[in-house]
């Protein structure tokens, strides 16, 4: 049982903390500082490797976005930014496949060697801003991102993922999707192969929790 003075101190402390939190939340909203941990957060890592010449382009077409079923509303994309681990790859543009894209498969081609890709099965490709990402139950095919990179050097280069900024209701989020892309020029091959990066740097801490 706390003394009346102790209770007063606790109440005042709680009020101060609550006040600061409220002011900070309002400031964030006013300044539109994106939050993390939104409806598109937590997608597991995946990746692949592609060979391309040092002046060529690779458009990654494997990243699909959909809103999990436990989220009530769709989200609207603002922008995407590719996260490059090193020089050698440059952002060559980002788009979303058209709403009229082929429904034969969720992804017909894993990647393209031009930017923007020229494939009628992608439908009328559109800028990222304003694209609405549906809930998975509403549209199982989701939104297909087309993320182009241009190779500028000889070697092996890694894009560790994509930052996606989007709005959900009145809030703006910025979350990371660990879609790992490795690009090798002929000089970057190891034993004739382009060794994929496994995104370990951005991965969980399972190396530390081994019992042995």
């Amino acid at each position: 049982v706390r003394s009346p003075r102790g209770r007063r101190v606790l109440l005042v402390s709680a009020a101060i903390i609550g006040g600061i939190a409220t002011v900070a939340a309002i400031a964030l909203w006013v300044l539109r500082v994106p939050l993390s941990g939104g409806p598109l957060a937590g997608l597991p890592a995946f990746g692949y490797a592609v060979e391309q010449s040092s002046d060529g382009a690779v458009t990654d077409a494997l990243t699909l976005l959909s809103v999990p079923d436990d989220i009530r509303d769709p989200v609207e994309l603002v922008r995407v930014e590719q996260a490059y681990e090193s020089p050698g790859l440059e952002d060559a543009g980002s788009w979303a496949a058209g709403a009229d894209r082929s429904r034969e498969l969720a992804v017909v081609e894993q990647f393209y060697r031009d930017a923007p890709p020229d494939d009628p099965r992608l439908g009328a490709i559109r800028p990222i801003a304003g694209v609405v990402v549906p809930r998975k139950t509403d549209d199982p095919f989701g939104v297909q991102l087309l993320l182009a990179s241009r190779v500028t050097q000889e070697g092996r280069f890694v894009r560790s993922g994509v930052w996606v900024t989007y709005t959900y209701r009145t809030l703006t989020f910025r979350d990371f999707i660990p879609a790992v892309l490795t690009v090798c020029t002929p000089a970057g091959l190891t034993n004739g192969e382009c060794e994929p990066d496994y995104g370990d740097a951005a991965d969980d801490t399972d190396g530390a929790d081994d019992d042995g």
């Binding site: 709680a14 903390i17 609550g18 600061i20 939190a21 900070a24 939340a25 400031a27 964030l28 300044l31 500082v33 939050l35 993390s36 997608l43 597991p44 890592a45 995946f46 990746g47 692949y48 490797a49 592609v50 494997l62 990243t63 699909l64 429904r103 034969e104 498969l105 969720a106 992804v107 017909v108 081609e109 894993q110 990647f111 998975k136 199982p140 095919f141 989701g142 660990p178 879609a179 994929p196 496994y198 995104g199 370990d200 991965d203 969980d204 801490t205 399972d206 190396g207 530390a208 929790d209 081994d210 019992d211 042995g212």
Partner: protein, 373 residues
């Protein structure tokens, strides 16, 4: 910076909110029901901690808490022994517990895993459901007052050690080598597959329990949760060709342990008594591995199917519970495999475009992935 400040404030307030209203650390909450499904009001619960790293010999599980369920069979299990919890916690905060519960309806014993934060508050644990079983239990004896700790001739009536101090598991000479299924490898004509597996706490295996039936003496075998296992830093690189549907499996050694209850009778007097039951638990990987053919499959949806021409690694962070993934002494138990950075499932197209589909979503995030026509 502002976001960081806000998150700090929020985590601080969350920290304040997570302080238990009564003393100690909440390990987990549970609801206890009798064999018929009705709430087991007043059921007793004892919780012990396994050592973070299992020894090769006798395993001592340390008593953390004893308590009783309320009239609706609900219980919040707390402990004041923070030091014991810290000793039992793996570096990632995982604590392996032995839970014993009993009431007039019967008893239950099982292994259970919880994850704790650095401040020892539980990380998103869901309530544990305990179903008491009367099989092999002398419920009449259970309903009667327990033998006092000071008397001699300890006879276990329900195989649990409640009202004791610790539980000890003495290794027996019975050892069995079993196949533990880890990952289903499903290829068609246009791809091969690799699964790189590392022996780590990401692989959990079922524990089974045996005791004689109170009436006829036959051995009752039950599943009793999942265990961590003794691990070494090594692994297997599984690789299979086209047109396969097989389980990648590792060869594990299970060992039988006899259960002893340890009672502190006061002063220098300690007493151990035979609880009359045994546990089979995974002891070590033998370094062996195998492939087990299966016909198990799933239907693909077009919305979960993609075309690939470059080798693709998937199913990172996916957790799959494989029902019947291990058979121990004639009893099927579960295996849980969580993939991480040291577990890579990679599909390699053989020159033509392969189509991959996921069982529960896009192949990039699905629990199980296969090649389809």
């Amino acid at each position: 910076m502002l976001a960081l400040g806000l998150s700090t404030i929020l985590s601080l307030t969350a920290g304040v909110a997570s302080v238990p209203s009564s003393g100690g650390i909440e390990l987990f909450s549970a609801s206890i029901a009798g064999p018929e499904g009705r709430a087991a009001a007043g059921a007793r619960v004892a919780v012990y901690a396994y050592p973070a790293r299992l020894p090769r010999g006798t395993i001592t599980t340390t008593l953390l808490a004893e308590t009783r369920a309320d009239t609706r069979g609900n219980v919040s299990v707390r402990t004041r022994d923070k030091a014991a919890v810290r000793r039992a916690a793996a570096p990632d905060g995982t604590v392996h517990l032995l839970i014993e519960a009993d009431g007039p309806q019967g008893a239950v014993t099982l292994d259970h895993q919880i994850a704790l934060k650095t401040d020892l508050t539980a990380r998103g644990s869901t309530p544990v459901k305990l179903r008491l079983s009367a099989a092999g239990i002398d419920t009449a004896a259970l309903a009667a007052p327990r033998t006092s700790a000071s008397s001699s001739g300890y006879v276990s009536k329900n195989h649990n050690c409640i009202n004791g101090a610790d539980v000890q598991w003495i290794p027996q000479n019975s050892i069995k080598r079993v196949d533990v299924k880890l990952q289903q490898l499903m290829t068609g004509k246009k791809s091969t597959v690799r699964y790189d597996w590392s022996n780590s706490s990401k692989t959990r295996m079922g524990v089974t329990y045996e005791y004689p039936h109170a009436k006829n003496g036959t051995i009752v075998k039950v599943k009793a949760g999942m265990s961590h296992s003794v691990t070494e830093a090594s692994g297997v690189n599984f690789a299979r060709g086209t047109n396969r549907n097989e389980w990648a499996a590792v060869d594990w050694e299970y060992r039988k342990y006899k259960k002893y209850c340890h009672v502190d009778t006061g002063g220098y007097h300690h007493r151990f008594y035979d609880a009359g039951s045994w546990q089979w638990r995974p002891r070590q990987w033998t370094d062996g591995n195998s492939y087990i053919p299966t016909k198990s499959t799933f239907r693909c949806k077009r919305g979960n199917t993609i075309g690939v021409t470059a080798r693709l690694w998937v199913s990172r962070s996916a957790t799959r519970t494989i029902s019947g993934g291990v058979v121990v002494n004639g009893l099927s138990a579960d295996v849980e495999q969580t993939n991480g950075s040291s577990h890579k499932l990679t599909f390699i197209p053989t020159g033509k475009k392969a189509r991959l589909c996921g069982n529960n979503g896009y192949p990039t995030a699905a629990t199980v992935v296969k090649e389809v026509k």
